[in-house]
């Protein structure tokens, strides 16, 4: 097993506030890794740094896509990061509300296709072939995620759980080797969470995509993850398998507060 993402001493400052402090993290091929921590610990900031929405103040982010040489991606624009094979979803759903479900996924295909303005205006054979392929590929992604019944529905009219899954579908359409999911189960009911659990496992097993997820639903995290990283105040306070994390006193302290046992 080799590392496909290696983050070394990542630091992110907002003015005087250090949101992420010397964070190390690594993900291996076909691994599901969870990033957990209390609210405001810097998890989403970490995602934003990796995907290029923020410029990290210091540290290295190195990716090694399967079959390609390692590359440092600090400070690359988000669209180039996506092009290199990292796709993400958002904590607060950011779908293209007034586009259909299929179109949302088709946007995901954008960075893997090439037709430009001129070929669109003159509808060249190349453009038509590509367009058909985009529709085809997008529809296949929807089938995989189980959203094919909604194809022509507007994204904003979808039920909440389906919107969350559509975000995953859209990210999948960019052909990633690493999927970054930011609280995919937030606001889902137990039934939907179970389905999500299956879906994530399926994505990993069938597509061979590694997954890094932020999640607050501990049941989901514990059952899914191969390894867990725990952050608090921007610092990594623990890492290990779910069983190790469950027992870790530092983690319990971060989540439940100082000296809870002593007072009790």
């Amino acid at each position: 097993m080799k590392d496909i993402l290696e983050v070394k001493k990542l630091t992110m400052d907002f003015g005087g506030l250090r949101a992420i402090d010397n964070l190390d993290l690594d993900i291996q091929e076909k691994e599901i890794v969870a990033l957990i921590g209390p609210n405001g610990a810097g998890k989403t900031t970490f995602f934003n740094c990796i995907t290029g929405l923020y410029q990290p103040t210091g540290g290295d982010i190195v990716i090694t896509p399967p079959g390609k040489p390692a590359e440092r991606i600090n400070g690359l624009k988000p669209n180039y990061v996506t092009q290199r094979g990292l796709a993400r979803t958002f904590q607060n759903i950011r779908l293209f509300q007034n586009m259909t479900v299929l179109e949302n996924v088709m946007i995901g295909r954008h960075c893997r296709t090439y037709a430009g303005v001129a070929s669109a205006m003159f509808k060249t054979a190349f453009q038509r072939r590509e367009e058909n392929k985009i529709v085809q590929d997008s529809y296949e992604v929807l089938e995989k995620i189980g959203l094919s019944e909604y194809v022509n529905e507007l994204a904003k009219n979808l039920p909440y759980g389906a919107q969350r899954r559509l975000e995953i579908a859209r990210a999948m359409a960019t052909d990633p080797f690493l999927l970054l999911l930011d609280e995919p189960a937030a606001g889902m009911n137990p039934q939907e969470t179970r389905e999500l659990d299956d879906l994530i496992i399926r994505i990993r097993d069938r597509e061979g995509i590694s997954i890094l997820l932020i999640e607050h639903d501990m049941k989901l995290v514990m059952s899914l993850s191969d390894r867990i990283f725990v952050v608090d105040y921007g610092r990594k306070i623990a890492q290990g398998t779910p069983d190790e994390i469950k027992e870790n006193p530092v983690v319990i302290k971060a989540y439940l507060g100082e000296d809870l046992d002593a007072q009790a």
């Binding site: 624009k77 779908l95 259909t100 299929l102 946007i107 960019t174």
Partner: protein, 393 residues
Amino acid sequence: MFMTFTILVIKVDPIQRSVSWRWENMVMVGVGSFFLSFLWRYAMARKLAGNKNMAEGKILKTTIIQRLMEDPKLFRPALIFLAVFVVAFPFIFSHYQINIMTTALIYVVLGLGLNIVVGLAGLLDLGYVAFYAVGAYSYALLNYHFGLNFWFALPIGAGLGCLFGILLGFPVLRLRGDYLAIVTLGFGEIIRLVMENWNEFSFGPSGIANIPRPDFFGHEFSLQNATIFTYFIMIGLALLTIFFVNRLQNSRIGRAWIALREDEIACQSMGIDKTKTKLTAFALGATWAGMVGVMFAAKTTFINPPSFTFMESAIILSIVVLGGAGSITGVILGALILSLAPEYLREVREFRMLAFGACMVLMMVFRPQGLITNVRRVYKFEKSPDSKKEQNL
């Protein structure tokens, strides 16, 4: 009623030193406002009902035009009728009518061009008329100095428009919303002021006269025929624009524009190059403005800076917003209404602007999405759902 009291009811005659009370006016105002309030309530109730339906996710096919567009049985004859009407138009109606129609068509193309920038890509451009001016002046000046004819100037005007679009595009790429609007507004004014004050270059406020009308392979028409010819060129240009814009908005680039309008951050994270996408939108919008600018110069044979004021930009923007941002039919309809209505309302010109303003306010209250809602008409039918499912089963 009480606000109008002092104006309508009491009439003070300072010469005869008398005050006359016109109570009948008060009754009129009372009755009028009574009926208006009923109308208003009725419209509001309808609007609320509409909102409710929307919330329930029902697809509303409210307008006749939408239904017309979707049903090929109705759509075909309507299209043929329209085509016949368009061709026959100049031979039925007077010179004046043809001229108005040509102007309306110019607005159609301008509206469609701005629709790319505002309607699709969601970039609020308040200085669109600048590119229109660039096109018009490029033809006028090239013709004046080098005797270039219309047909050569058309692509050059379009090209220059595009170039200026990119020039403006670069600095404003990082701006959004209000800030972008202000900068584009400034740009529009800059172009106009340069044209007004740079006498050696653009002949300043006196403008450029005697710009030749379009010729037909060197053959010059009489005034009457030239008008008709211009009309047909404009029809051609409009059709070309509709054709290209339609293709563009259903393409990969068009989808990227819409995605950019919907959510910029998500758009970038999905691998779309924000810079490039915005620039193409700006450049393409400006290209059409440049092209139509050449047309405008050729049609009026005289241009000067006051033709390109902010008012013009505002009208083009209203066309897009009123017609329904993002929808081609909507924009065409909006352009026809906004450019033809003031012409035909000339008889009641005192109230023209009043009616215009009232229409705008009412539109924004009751149909903020525009005359024709931008239905996602890109119903791409998945080609192999059945075969796929069969394989899976």
